[in-house]
Amino acid sequence: MMSQKIASEAQIRRVLVNALSYTRSRVEYADLLYERAVRIELQQLPDRLIKKPFNAKSRIQLRLLNRGKKAEIKVGTLNLTSIKHAIDEGMKLLRASPRPQKLVSLAPIPNPGKVRYGLPAPAAFPADEIFDALIRSITGLARKIERKHAGRNIKVKPEFWFFSQREEKAIADTEGVFKTQVLPRTFLQVITRVKGKGDKMTQTRARLGNVHTYTDIVRKTKTDRYVMTPAVRKFLTEWFERTIALQDAVSLTPAQVRKLDHMILHYTTAGVFVHEALGHNFEADIVKAGGSGIIDKDGKPKGAVACEDVNIMDGPVSDDFTNGFGTELIDDEGVEVKTKLLARNGRMVGMILSRETAAYFGLKPNGGAFSEMGDPRIPRMSDTYLMPATRSNWRHSLKELIKDIKYGILLVGTTGGAVSKDGMSSSVQLGYLVENGKVTNMVKPSNFTAKTMFALRYVDGFAGPVEIRDVGFCGKGQTKFVADGGPTWTRIKNNEYIGLSVQG
């Protein structure tokens, strides 16, 4: 597959190279990252529809290294004068910076000669046609569902957000590296709010996203009409129905939660759990700062993070770099992104590394450093998932996985989570009780709490293929596109290190 050029590549390269030559007599090393995204965007808010057929963002990150000290500067606009001014300001930062405990150095960029990376991305979008198809389909689906439930006086209010963008970046350094990447990325989120009997309100959130063009969501027919794809219609219809069903969902008391023998996590719930509870703890900057709950400051594991049957990975499933909302081909330092095995058989074997943290720990960089539009580059997750280490407890179906469960719960979906050093929290959109091997009542939204080091030591079964279609925006001072997941279902024996708190 031929990778595309970024727009105005020669001009951008000229500015970056000239700026870098300005640093040569001043510092030992410098690099520049240029990022630009042009997107079309549609937002249906509760009270208004916003169409943004043109949204352009670009920024530059400059890094200077001298005598073991570094300075990082975000620059607003790409022109030589601005960057030269930033270099002068950066020199002041370097002079003022104290000497770090361990001098800063950067691991070399592997494969420095390769220039272009990417996937096919459109330079222009048929925004009008895409917007019309989305508005027509989503509101049409909502009215259809209301008619289906006409006897219940249900109101379905979908609030949605769609964007499709072309991303471009260029990385250049004083050692002559020049690399570019072009990627498409598309996202759809539908928040469904249902008002039912007695004004009772329920809400869910459904998301789709990938490094694909808008054609995953809206396609052109043979008659030149744009329509929502059947898969997306089915997906949204399921979430509309679930939001209506939540009107009759039951709650569980803490005593009932204690009685649960198993919790069975859908990949949309397990994914955010793995991301929050474990993923962040593998990010090498957090490890270096002593903030990881599972790896000590020297990069040594504190103990098992899961049972022997669990591997933790970061990267697209089966090394398929054309899939995954968090996928990139090179990171923002120009390092080719590798699929990272973070834990094997429940034990830590790797970290997510930037060039700086790789040098700090004496390791090779693995393409884990990312920046949000000109911010400093730091280790970030991309597509993080739980992978069964063996086939021994991997069942073919959910039915098989739950047949011996007396009193358990299936947990589905999330609206996000968060992590502290030793604990995590993730929201669960809905649940289903499992009683004597059968799925019974729908359960209200809940919160899943876990003590990081111990929660996954009690995994005792899986079902279905590994999927990373849970789509998110990870915040760590900067926002990054991510995906997460695992087998369709992951079964955890209830234990003292996990907690479930059900609303209501």
């Binding site: 509760p46 009270d47 208004r48 169409k51 943004k52 057929p53 043109f54 352009a56 963002k57 670009s58 920024r59 570094k70 300075a71 500067i73 975000k74 620059v75 607003g76 606009t77 001014h85 930033a86 300001e89 950066g90 930062l93 002079r95 003022a96 910076s97 770090p100 405990q101 109101k155 709010r193 008002k195 329920t202 809400q203 803490p254 005593a255 929050e276 700062a289 002593g290 903030g291 400093p376 996000g416 968060a418 502290s420 050093k421 030793d422 604990g423 929290s425 993730s426 929201s427 939204p445 809940s446 919160n447 709490t449 876990a450 003590k451 003292e496 907690g499 708190s501 059900v502 209501g504």
Partner: protein, 445 residues
């Protein structure tokens, strides 16, 4: 960069493109920060950061153009694309700015001077570190200091003078062992001696032991909880305010009506973007309506909703100055749509001293922060989250930290407000408001 010059050029472009009206929300900023990681300090700079959130009206249609490059050619492309796909405008014209007599306090020259001197910010960071490490038991220490200067301009096509101000901001925070944090923030330079002691004071205040809900006999119980002002502001802004926005009420999705008793008579809440050195302080909101102080809840009764111009036009009233670019997820402020948004929030202090509130609790929690509160349900106001930072109260004393990942708290934000049993005499400035501690009952799970 001169925002006023760019604004003039843009308005000239709007005239050439025969637009009926244009609204500009422009910012240009510089930020110097020191990141503290144990004993290391990293200096970072954000230089020349320009953002423009532009709305245009032509023939009754409204288009949006967000850009980050001060380039009229890019803007021209954006305007043309926006107008080609524009939807109906909720009003005929953008606001015409009216004069404001009172000068707002939002700039401190001491911050500007410090911004030009990286060594001063480094020395302050070093001071914080050295003092913090005088306390034993620090395993990991994180923090940061940030200084910012921002030019901000709001104008529309038919104004003679834009709303323009240069604002400064200072912030500092510390985190000890990932178990508690403290901070100062505002638009005025704080007492730097107090800033230097942030980490030390926090480290000294940390109880030595942690505990679980099971060992405290609290699991599954509804217990008195004292909510810290920072958490209270988050609850009010993320969940309660949603039900006070006129747009939510107009959609029939609010649980509130004007005139309804939504809190005890001890509760008075106001929204303000004119308070000295507060986060939202600026002469206008983001669509040119003069900012003001709006009493939202008085003695527990909902007095008014918060309006932007679109929702005000629907109800045939004036905007309350709450039209703001409110970003979510990956959005920056300038690219987010303008919608009803709370400015800084102020809750009137009560009469009970905080230590008396604590002393009156046999078993309960002082709740400073819940993990992942952004996942709470803004439609219903329900939340259930892991307790991240707090103290366990036993027999009127703060006795322990919550064991990480073992405590969760659930409740409903609107019920919390309605059932406040005490409001503290003390308040703190959380940057986007000044609030007291309040006591409610919540379930520990």
């Amino acid at each position: 960069m001169q925002l006023e010059k760019f604004a003039k050029q843009t308005i000239n472009l709007a005239a050439k493109l025969k637009l009926d009206d244009i609204e500009l929300f422009l910012t240009y900023s510089r930020t110097l920060s020191a990141k503290i990681e144990n004993r290391d300090i990293n200096l970072e700079l954000k230089e020349g950061i320009f953002n423009a959130g532009i709305r245009v009206i032509k023939k009754g249609k409204l288009g949006y153009v967000p850009i980050t490059e001060p380039d009229l050619n890019v803007l021209r492309t954006g305007i043309k694309a926006a107008l080609a796909k524009a939807g109906p405008a909720p009003f005929v014209n953008f606001a015409v700015l009216s004069d404001r007599k009172k000068r707002l306090e939002l700039y401190d020259d001491r911050i500007t001077r410090m911004l030009g001197s990286p060594s001063k910010i480094k020395n302050l960071a070093r001071n914080i570190i050295e003092r913090a490490f005088t306390v034993k038991g620090i395993e990991n220490f994180e923090g940061g200091i940030g200084l910012n200067i921002e030019d901000r301009l709001v104008t529309t096509m038919h104004n003679r003078t834009p709303a323009f101000a240069t604002r400064t901001a200072f912030s500092a925070f510390v985190d000890v062992n990932s178990r508690d944090f403290d901070f100062v923030a505002g638009r005025r330079m704080p007492d730097l001696e107090k800033v230097a002691k942030l980490g030390e004071n926090l480290a000294r205040s940390l109880p030595k032991r942690s505990t679980t809900p099971e060992s405290e006999g609290m699991k599954g119980k509804k217990l008195p909880v004292i909510i810290h002002p920072l958490m209270l502001e988050t609850i009010l802004r993320n969940l309660v305010a949603e039900h006070i926005y006129a747009s939510t009420v107009q959609e029939g999705m609010s649980r509130y009506r004007v005139g309804q008793q939504v809190a005890p008579i001890t509760v008075t809440l106001w929204d303000d973007a004119t308070a000295p050195y507060a986060e939202s302080t600026f002469p206008t909101d983001d669509e040119g309506t003069n900012t003001r102080r709006t009493t939202v809840i008085e003695n527990g009764m909902l007095k008014t909703l918060l309006y932007d111009r679109a929702s005000a036009a629907k109800d045939g009233v004036e905007s309350t100055g709450n039209g703001r670019h409110r970003p979510v997820l990956i959005e920056d402020e300038h690219e987010a749509p303008v919608r009803c948004t709370a400015n800084d929030l102020f809750l009137a202090p009560g009469k009970t001293p905080l230590n008396r509130m604590i002393k009156g609790i046999k078993r309960g929690i002082l709740l400073k922060y819940l993990l992942g509160f952004h996942t709470a349900n803004r439609t219903t106001g329900d939340f259930t989250n892991t307790l991240y930072v707090g103290r366990i109260i036993r027999d009127g004393r703060l006795v322990a930290l919550p064991e990480p990942g073992r405590w969760a708290v659930k409740g409903n934000a609107l019920d919390c407000l309605k059932n406040i049993t005490a409001v503290s005499r003390e308040t703190i400035n959380v940057a986007s408001g000044v609030l007291p501690w309040v006591q409610v009952d919540l379930t520990v799970t």
